[in-house]
Structure formats: structure tokens, C-alpha cells
């Protein structure tokens, strides 16, 4: 995974895990790696890895069973909410970026329509 070294690492790893949860790569109720394993997997500081789980727990996205480890929430509604929030955030970033280019909201929205699903994937090289 590519990190932006000027942004908090814990937030970047949280986003990566959230993405795996909303896409179903990590299933609801699935056991997450231990803090140590997470640190090794992402090559990050173990204290940062610990913080990732603490923050995810605070947000209700995962929970800890004493002596068993950390698990993805079993609450489908929670996952749906998370997906909504992440989608909103991406949309906000897009509109914000356009605004900073001096492009109106209407033009920004219209522009999205020009991209068919195929052309979007092609541009990403997939």
C-alpha cells in the first residue's frame, strides 16, 4: 500500500480496512489480524496499528472480544452507513476539487455524465 507520509498513517490504514469491509473483502463478523500482524502486514508502527483498532472500535466498525481478538461488526446497517459516508466523502472531494479549479457545481455534475462505466475503468488501466 502506498502511503502519504504527511497524513496520519492510522487514518490511511483505517480507510483501507473500511474499504475492505464495505466491498465485502472483509466479511461481517470476520476476525481481524492481531495488532502485531496488522503492523507487519502494512509495515507500520505497532502503536499506530493499535490506534487503528481503537478508532475503528470508537466508530463502531469493529469490536473486541476479550482474549479472542478484534472482529468486524455484525451490524449490516452499520456497514451500509459506512459505505454511504465513504461515498459521500468521495463526492465531496470531487466537488471540492472542481470548485478549486473554478468549475461550477452544475458543470461538475454534468461532467460526471460524460464518463461511461467502461471509459472510467479503461482510464484506470483495468
Amino acid at each position: 500500500m502506498e502511503f502519504n507520509p504527511a497524513l496520519p498513517i492510522y487514518l490511511q490504514v483505517m480507510t483501507a480496512i473500511k474499504r475492505e469491509i464495505v466491498t465485502g473483502t472483509l466479511e461481517m463478523g470476520a476476525r481481524l489480524p492481531s495488532v502485531r500482524e496488522l503492523a507487519v502486514q502494512y509495515a507500520i508502527n505497532p502503536n499506530t496499528a493499535g490506534r487503528v483498532y481503537r478508532e475503528l472500535e470508537n466508530e463502531g466498525i469493529c469490536f473486541t472480544r476479550r482474549g479472542m481478538g478484534t472482529f468486524v461488526t455484525e451490524d449490516a446497517q452499520k456497514v451500509a452507513q459506512l459505505k454511504e459516508a465513504m461515498a459521500d466523502e468521495l463526492a465531496r472531494q470531487y466537488l471540492d476539487g472542481m470548485r478549486r479549479l473554478g468549475i461550477t457545481r452544475e458543470e461538475a455534475l454534468r461532467r460526471l455524465g460524460r464518463f461511461s462505466p467502461v471509459s472510467v475503468l479503461e482510464e484506470k488501466g483495468e
Binding site: L7, N45, N47
Partner: protein
């Protein structure tokens, strides 16, 4: 746990370390950063009493460092320190004789993962293999403090990944790791605290996630500030 208290080291007229103080606590991974010649190696050698300070001292658990503290402080120097007739297996035995906390089992597991054959003589090792061997033999100790002098220097990307992995696997709540490097970005994600040494002096000690959160700066950004111009303390 390991405290550097107002240490100065002079070699003749040259001051290698100038009034440096800091504290190393368990549960943290520290980067000791600074250009070549800034005093990082001298500091590490003083922490394991291989070099005597001109004034000031290192304390481990409240006692001046010496033969006793070396049982719990593992130090990896930059220069290779094995006889070239030794095989990787011999190196392990040599360490086992020296250090009570050395685990042959951990050593073999590390060698295997790093794809080093225990039977190979060290004289046949490339610089990357030698770097991995040094890490394996150091991390196979169950020490409380690990001082690693330039473990990532001059080796390829994949060997670096392996070394970082071994470092992270050794990290836990009871252990402190100090990694010196002049390659700042390599350690960016791995450490939680950065100690900056500039021209023999302590320039700054930064908690790196706090640096990102509060100031939106990377360790590399801070490094440039310190060594590029002036080096005023901001965190």
C-alpha cells in the same frame, strides 16, 4: 528505561557528541536520524559501553551502562563483525555462547525466512545477505533494547522489507528499538518517535504521528527543516 544524560564525547579537539540528553522507553520504536558524521554511531556505542563518554553517562534502569546492561541491550554495528570462515550456523553458535537471551530457534526461523542457508560461509555473502544475517543474529536475542545502526544501508528493496518485518515482529510493549539511519523515508511509517541529531547535538525529538496530525508534516519534511536551514524547534 535507557537514558542518555548530558553526554559529551570528544576525540582530541573534535566533538563527536555535544551535551546530548534523551530517554528511550519500552513500547516504542525510535528513529535516530542525521547525516553521516553527526554522531549517531558514537551515541549507540556509548549506550553499550563500547565507547566511554568524555562527560555525562548512559543509564539503563537507573544504573550506569556496563557489562550487566549489555545482557539486555542488543547492539548491531554497521561494520561486519564475523570471521569470514564462519558459516551462518557458526555465527549463531558464537552468539549463543555470548548471550544468554539468544534463541537458536528464532535464529533459524529468521534465516529461513530471509532465505539464508546456515551452511554458507559468510565470506560468500553479498552485502544484502550480510545485512540480513546481522539482523537475524541480533533479533534472535530476546533483548529489552535493540540498537540497530544503519540496518537499511546499501541493500535492495526486498531485503529491506524483510528487515523491517523482523524489526516489527520483535517490537512489543516491553521492548524499545532504536534504528539509526540517514535514509529518512524508509523509517517514516515504522517508528513512532524521531530523534534528530545535527552536528553532534540533539536537534529535536518528535512524535511522528503527532507531527502529521498537528502540522501535516512528514518526517522527511521535518528533516528538511532541521538540516536544510537553521533547525528551529517546533515540536
Amino acid at each position: 528505561m535507557l537514558e542518555c544524560r548530558e553526554i559529551t564525547k570528544k576525540y582530541g579537539r573534535k566533538t563527536a557528541v555535544d551535551q546530548v540528553s534523551f530517554c528511550i522507553e519500552p513500547g516504542h520504536i525510535y528513529a535516530m536520524l542525521g547525516p553521516n558524521g553527526s554522531g549517531k554511531t558514537t551515541l549507540m556505542k556509548m549506550a553499550v559501553s563500547l565507547v566511554k563518554p568524555t562527560s555525562g553517562a548512559f543509564y539503563y534502569k537507573g544504573q550506569p551502562v556496563g557489562v550487566d546492561s549489555r545482557r539486555e541491550i542488543a547492539y548491531m554495528s554497521t561494520e561486519p563483525y564475523f570471521y569470514n570462515w564462519m558459516s551462518a550456523e557458526d555465527v549463531g553458535r558464537y552468539y549463543q555462547d555470548f548471550f544468554e537471551d539468544f534463541s537458536m530457534e528464532t535464529y533459524h526461523a529468521l534465516l529461513e525466512r530471509m532465505e539464508l542457508d546456515p551452511r554458507t560461509k559468510t565470506k560468500a555473502f553479498s552485502s544484502g545477505m550480510m545485512a540480513k544475517l546481522k539482523i537475524a543474529v541480533t533479533m534472535a536475542r530476546r533483548a529489552k533494547v535493540y540498537l540497530l545502526d544503519e540496518p537499511l544501508n546499501g541493500i535492495d528493496l526486498l531485503a529491506r522489507d524483510e528487515i523491517i518485518r523482523s524489526i516489527l515482529e520483535a517490537a512489543n510493549r516491553d521492548v524499545a528499538l532504536v534504528i539509526s539511519s540517514h535514509l529518512v523515508d524508509e523509517l517514516e511509517k515504522v517508528v513512532d518517535t524521531a530523534i534528530f541529531i545535527r552536528e553532534s547535538r540533539l536537534a529535536d525529538v518528535c512524535e511522528v504521528e503527532a507531527l502529521r496530525i498537528m502540522q501535516g508534516k512528514s518526517v522527511v519534511d521535518r528533516y528538511r527543516e532541521i538540516y536544510g536551514h537553521g533547525g528551529e524547534q517546533t515540536c
